[in-house]
Every structure is written in structure tokens, then in C-alpha cells.
Amino acid sequence: MNYALKTRQVCLFIIAFLPLSKLFVLPSVLAKIANEDLWLCTVLSLLLDFITLSAVLYACKKADTDFFGLLRANFGKAGEIIVLVLFLIYFTFKAINPLTEQNEYVKLTLYTLMPTLLYFLPFFIVCFYLCTKKLRILGRAADIMWLATIIGVIILFAMSIANADFSAILPISARGTTAVLKGTYKSLNWFGDSAYLLFFIGNFKYKKRDYIKIICSFLIHAIIVTSFVIIFYSIFTSIAHRQRFALTEISKYTVVINNMGRFDYVGIMLILLSNMFSLSLPLYFSCKILNRIFNFKRAFIAPIIVVSIQVIIMVFLNENIIGFISFIQDYGGIYFLIVGNILPVFSALLKPKEKIYANQAN
């Protein structure tokens, strides 16, 4: 069997793309809700993702076909479409928040003199182009982009860690369980990335030690995100929630800036570059779902539909989108939890295609 991906690419995919969307607005949102306990919210959300990922990996181990094939074999065509539609809605809404963050970031940080949506819209060309490509290309992108992510993160950490006062995150759980749980609930939108890995089922050869390799890469991703929020809060403490874009703010006090300009922008630009792939992921998998449901003859039809919907949302809700996102965060949390975390856990219960057909034959 010719697999689209290698285990290495799955690991690098997790390291390269999963941490990025959590480095923009999430730290300040969590700082507002849970203050010094923001990292506990992150850890809890990551723990949820870890459980989901473990279940998905178990499904990978058992699977003899891809995710679509498993759904078809277990639930029939109608059942498959229902599940896929649930994921389609999930990915459509999951994409809105990071895209809006990116748009805001581009407008307010990079184009302070001319903040307009126009500067962000070309991103959708990249998104469209990537969506027309096969899974193999996503694996190759991970092969190359993990370096950009890691270098970017290292630059930012190196330039900010000296200003951090880590005692700021103590005492642990100072704000109580409610604040932590509330923070976790509100951050569900940023997590739930293990659902992406459902689409890797059957697309890479699952070998004996792959579980450890993939979990290790998930841990690297978890360490990046957790360290980032800890350093962020340790620098800004009580004013952390006012620093909307943690990515830009985290290194702004470094002394190098005076001598070398915003050298940290090298790291930020590398992260922004990697983030273009990361932002495209929900749309990419939406395209795969649409293609499966409608079986489009041409590769560009699903990307046109999916990207157009996001462009329309961005353009029409241009100034009001923050309200829309608050609505998603307040009321969509349960949906994100169910489809992003709980539903993928059940993938572990899916029976292999061969087994089902063998039972039917008997």
C-alpha cells in the first residue's frame, strides 16, 4: 500500500502547525479569565487533546482504511455523511477565530498606518492553493515548516525569557477551580486539534513505536504552548490581559531592540509564515470532507466553496466579527468539546473494514 504520509511527517505536522494559533490572542484571553492560573487552563485543554489524540492513534493502529472508509464501513453512507457534516460545521467555525485573529494582527501590528482587511485577503490565495493539494503535500509542508516554527519560537523565547519573573504564576490555583474551568471552556475554540489527525488515519503506516513518537511530538507542542503562556504572564503579570497580541508583545522589552531594531520580528515573521499553513488546516480538511460528500470531479471546486465562505464571513462581518467570535466562544464551547474532543475519542471504537465485511460474510 502506498501511504500519503510518513510517521515523521505526522510528528512534524504536530510540532509545526498545532502550537501556532495559540500564540496570538489566547494568552491574553486566558490572563483575563484566570490570571496567574492561565497555564492551568492551557494544561487542562492540552490534556483533553492528549486523551483525544491517544484515542485517534489507537484508531490509526487498528485501521485498515482511511477515516472516510471506516465511517462508511461502520455506519453506512448516511451515517458517514452525518458525521462528516458535524466535522464540516466544526471546521468552518473553528477557522473563524484564528482567521480573525490573524486579520486583526495583520491590521494592527503590521499595517498600523493603513489598517485594512485588504492586506489580509491575499492569505486566502495561499489557503485556496494549499486546499487543492493532496495530503502528501501537507506532509511535505510539515517537513519544511517545522524548522520555521522552532526557530521562530526559540528567537521569541530567547528574547523574552530574561524579562520574565516566574514567581508571578504562583501560588498555583490562586483563582480557584471555577476560573480555571471557565478559562478552559472559553479556550476550547483554540484547541481540539487532535480532530485533524482523524484524517491521517490509514494515510500513514502505523508501526510499533509510532505511538511514542507522535505523543512525544505532541508533548513538544504542549511544552511550547505552556511555556509561552507562562513566560507571557511572567513578563506582564497583572497587565497581561491588556497585551492583546502576545506574539508581538512578549519580546518587546528586550534590550536588543534598541540596538538591532525589532530583531524579534525575524521570529515573528517565521511564525507568521508557518501559521499560514496552520490557519489553512480547518479549511483544508473541510475541503476533504466536501470532496468526499459530493465527489467533485475537479480539485478546485471544494476549495472555492470553502474559501469563499470564509472570505464572505470575513468581509461581511469585518468590524462586527469580534461579537460573532464572543458568541461562538460563549455558546459554541459545548459543540467544540463534543466534535473536537469527544467524537474523535469514539474513533477508537470503529471496527476495521475487513472485520466488518468478514462478519457480514459469515
Binding site: R8, Y111, K133, G261, R262, Y265, M276
Partner: protein, 483 residues
């Protein structure tokens, strides 16, 4: 059309087809039989024709048999031809063909001789250390240069002819057992399918071999040096040699090939690694520096250190053009100078360097038309690109494109275009070989001949990026084992 046993019929037909005045039909007698020797005047060695063909014909007294006739000639390269078309092709290729009355075949003698350029170091890949010989325009000479490097019976040369009017000899070259047989089959098929008037250079063939006709990137590797070609063939590639061209093509092609210089393999691994890293950084500087500078100047001033910003502000004071126009114009002037310096006679090259580089640049800055930092960035970018000359054409176009995007869309626009560029590059495949291998897809084992040039012991296996059944290329023996 087959030859008849009557010489007059054959000669009449051939005279009609080969009516040009540079083609000689020399009447002879072979014993009691009439014969005609056909050749192109300036393509054969007249001495050899006299010695190896004409002299033996005088030795016959009676009527020769078929075998006697064929065996009488001492020429080491002789073939029987039964078709008119075969004869026409042979004559035009520079063979001498003997038609004899009463026989339904002709004898074709390979006695080509024409003025050739001497073997010299190719100007496109000069080295301080290592072999200096380069290919010439003669296919047999090029074949001999490769054969001298690889004295193995597994080295295969397959001859084909391409071009309706040029009938250019094209040779496929590979090592049996190392090269992928499927690839050889595909190339053979592709070359045979080329229907073109004439092949005047190897680059004509390379256009047909690329699988993406509109791509800006090279899809076929090339070299002018037999040592490099031998190295590439030994890695599992297939070479295509074209008569009349000093450039040998190689397939499949990887982007990293152009970052590898022949001298890397003759110098120490340390210096080769540093040299490659410099090439890699130079290409990035060349490709993106003008764009980044313009984006920073127009949209992201915070990226520039304060002291440098003050220098820039002072230097652009009074410049009538916007930073993007200024950079674009300077790059355009650079490209014009570049184009002119390639085409103009060498003796005026110095004048252009002075006028273009010193007078034009210096005066433009003094006159306040172009700022000094812009000029410096263009100069740096221009020089940097020449560290990888093979990519110069492609990347100079891309550099202009990135500049336009950065000038209109700023840093984020530039990032968008870089992301597009990356997706394009990583999805690009030719003959099932990804252009960006071994970086994407990542092939760990092959990384030791990329930016990092590994020690000789690390090259135990052939690159995995190129399909080959024979994977091992050397046996590493430890000193202990040798002693």
C-alpha cells in the same frame, strides 16, 4: 524504400534526394563492377577515405562476392545498409557510403571528420582544484570523455536521432544496474516522440523533457563537465548528450544540485559545508533582501534599527521616487547592464563596467535620483545571485516579482508570496522525483550532501531521492580491517 541491385536506379534516386553541391558522388570500379562512393565533402576524413575505402577497391580483379566485398575494407566502423533512407541519414551524418552494382546493399563507413573545438575548461564551472576538461560540441568526443571516467561494461550509450531536418544524434547515457530502468524507458519514449524541425542545442531537448511546460523552474539538470556527469550517473541519474552541444542533460533533477559545486567534492568537508551555506544564504539574500528592504521602508519601519533608520532617512531625503519604484528602477538598470555585458564584445566590457557600475551608479546617487542604501542592496543582491549561477535566470525573475509584491502588499504580502512559493516548490515533481528532496519530503540520509557536505564515509549509499536498485556505492573499511 529498399535498394535494388541496379546501381543506376539507386544513384538516380539518391542524386534526386541529395541534390546539394557539397555532396560528392564519386564513380569507381570494384573489380568488374561499377560503384559509387557518396559523401559530404567537408564532413569526412579524406585521408581515411583514400586509405580505408578507395585503396581496397583497387585490389579487386574479378567479380567480388558479397562477403569479399564487405570484408575487403579495413575501416573499423562499417555497416550494411539496405534502405535508401538509411543511406541518406548516414551520408548527412558524415559517413561515406559505397554502392556497388549487382548488390542490394550499400556499405556505410564511419569516417567523420570535421573541425572541433579543443577540450577546455568550461567557463560556466571553473574550479581551483579538480579536473578542468569540459565537454565540446562533438558527441563522439563527449562520449569518449565519459568512457574515460567510467571504464565499466555497465555504462550504456543508446543512440537516437531527433529533428526532422537536423537529424541530430542524441545519446542516452546511464549505468545499467544503477539507473532506474523505468526512467530510461520513459526517456527513450519521450525522445523518440519529439517532433521538431531541428535540435540546435541540448536546451531544445530539455524543454521537451520537462513535465511542467510552463514552469519557471528548471526541470532537467545540466553540466559541462565529464567528472560531474560521471558523478551524477553514478548516483542513478540518466544523461542525455546532444551532438553539437557542450551541455549534457541529466534527469531527474533536484533543486539542491545547483547548490553543489564540483569543487565541494575535491575540497575538505568543512570548507565545502561553509561554501554551501554561503551559497544558500546568498541566494536568500539575493531573492528577498530588496523586497524586505522595500517592505520595511514602506510599511514596517519598526523592523529597522534606529541608527540605520536615521541613515536611510538622510539618504532618501530629496529622492523623487518612492522606495519601491526606486528599487525596481535600480534592479532594472542592473538587469540591463547584466544583459548588455553578456552580449557586447569583450573589449568594450571594461567600458560598460566603468560607465554602468561607477559613472551611472555614482552619478545617480550624487544627483539624488537613487539613494545609496538602495544601490548597495541591489549590488549585493546581484552579486549574491551569482554564487549559484545556474539559478540566476529563474531567481532574477522571482526577485522582481517579490519586489513588486512587497512594494504593494508589504511584509504580509511578501509572506503570502513566500508561502505560495513554498507550496509550489514542494508539490513540484518531475519523473516522480520531488524537486525539493531531500528537504521536502525530508530524506534524512540524503541531507549529508546538501548544505552540509558529509565526510567520504558518510556517502556509503546512493541518494535515496533518486530511484535506484543498487543502493550501496562504497564499502567502508575501518583501518583495523585494512591492517
Amino acid at each position: 524504400m529498399k535498394l535494388t541491385r541496379t546501381i543506376d536506379e539507386n544513384v538516380t534516386y539518391l542524386k534526386k534526394k541529395l541534390a546539394s553541391e557539397d555532396i560528392t558522388f564519386l564513380d569507381l570500379t570494384v573489380g568488374t563492377k561499377n560503384a559509387v562512393l557518396i559523401f559530404v565533402n567537408d564532413l569526412i576524413s579524406k585521408n581515411e577515405v583514400g586509405e580505408l575505402v578507395l585503396r581496397p577497391t583497387t585490389l579487386f580483379s574479378g567479380e567480388p562476392s558479397e562477403d569479399e566485398l564487405f570484408n575487403a575494407f579495413l575501416s573499423p566502423e562499417k555497416f550494411k545498409r539496405y534502405e535508401h533512407n538509411e543511406i541518406i541519414t548516414d551520408v548527412l551524418l558524415g559517413n561515406a557510403v559505397l554502392l556497388t552494382d549487382g548488390f542490394d546493399f550499400a556499405i556505410s563507413f564511419g569516417l567523420k571528420y570535421f573541425e572541433k573545438r579543443a577540450i577546455a575548461e568550461p567557463p560556466t564551472s571553473t574550479v581551483l582544484k579538480g579536473p578542468r576538461e569540459g565537454f565540446v560540441e562533438s558527441l563522439p568526443v563527449n562520449i569518449s570523455l565519459i568512457r574515460r571516467k567510467l571504464k565499466t561494461p555497465d555504462l550504456r550509450f543508446e543512440n537516437l536521432s531527433v529533428g526532422k531536418f537536423s537529424n541530430t544524434p542524441v545519446t542516452l547515457c546511464y549505468i545499467d544496474g544503477i539507473a532506474d530502468k523505468e526512467l530510461v524507458k520513459i526517456l527513450r519514449k519521450k525522445l523518440s516522440a519529439i517532433d521538431i524541425d531541428a535540435v540546435l542545442d541540448a536546451s531544445y531537448i530539455s524543454k521537451f523533457l520537462g513535465e511542467h511546460k510552463t514552469s519557471i523552474f528548471k526541470q532537467v539538470g545540466n553540466t559541462e563537465k565529464p567528472d560531474i556527469l560521471a558523478g551524477k550517473i553514478l548516483e542513478g541519474r540518466v544523461a542525455i548528450l546532444v551532438d553539437g552541444s557542450p551541455i549534457a542533460l541529466t534527469v531527474p533533477y533536484l533543486l539542491i544540485e545547483d547548490f553543489q559545486s564540483p569543487s565541494d567534492y575535491y575540497n575538505s568537508s568543512y570548507s565545502a559545508t561553509v561554501a554551501r551555506a554561503i551559497r544558500f544564504i546568498s541566494v536568500i539574500i539575493s531573492l528577498f533582501l530588496p523586497a524586505i528592504f522595500v517592505a520595511a521602508e514602506l510599511f514596517h519601519l519598526q523592523l529597522i534599527p534606529l541608527s540605520f533608520l536615521l541613515t536611510i532617512v538622510n539618504s532618501i531625503k530629496g529622492i523623487p521616487l518612492s522606495p519601491s519604484y526606486e528599487m525596481f528602477l535600480t534592479l532594472l538598470i542592473f538587469e540591463i547592464l547584466n544583459e548588455a555585458s553578456v552580449r557586447m564584445p569583450r573589449y568594450v566590457g571594461m567600458v560598460v563596467s566603468i560607465v554602468g557600475g561607477l559613472v551611472l551608479g555614482e552619478t545617480a546617487v550624487t544627483a539624488g535620483i537613487i539613494s545609496a542604501p538602495t544601490l548597495m542592496i541591489v549590488a549585493l543582491s546581484g552579486i549574491c545571485l551569482y554564487t549559484v549561477p545556474e539559478l540566476e535566470q529563474t531567481f532574477s525573475v522571482l526577485r522582481l516579482l517579490f519586489l513588486i509584491i512587497a512594494g504593494s502588499g508589504g511584509g504580509y504580502g511578501l509572506l503570502v508570496s513566500i508561502a505560495m512559493f513554498i507550496i509550489y516548490l514542494i508539490s513540484f515533481e518531475n519523473y516522480s522525483t520531488p524537486l525539493c528532496a531531500p528537504f521536502s519530503p525530508l530524506i534524512k540520509e540524503d541531507l549529508k550532501d546538501t548544505i552540509y557536505k558529509g565526510f567520504i564515509e558518510e556517502h556509503e549509499f546512493r541518494p535515496k531521492s533518486i530511484k535506484s536498485k543498487n543502493k550501496k556505492r562504497m564499502n567502508i573499511k575501518k583501518d583495523r580491517e585494512i591492517n
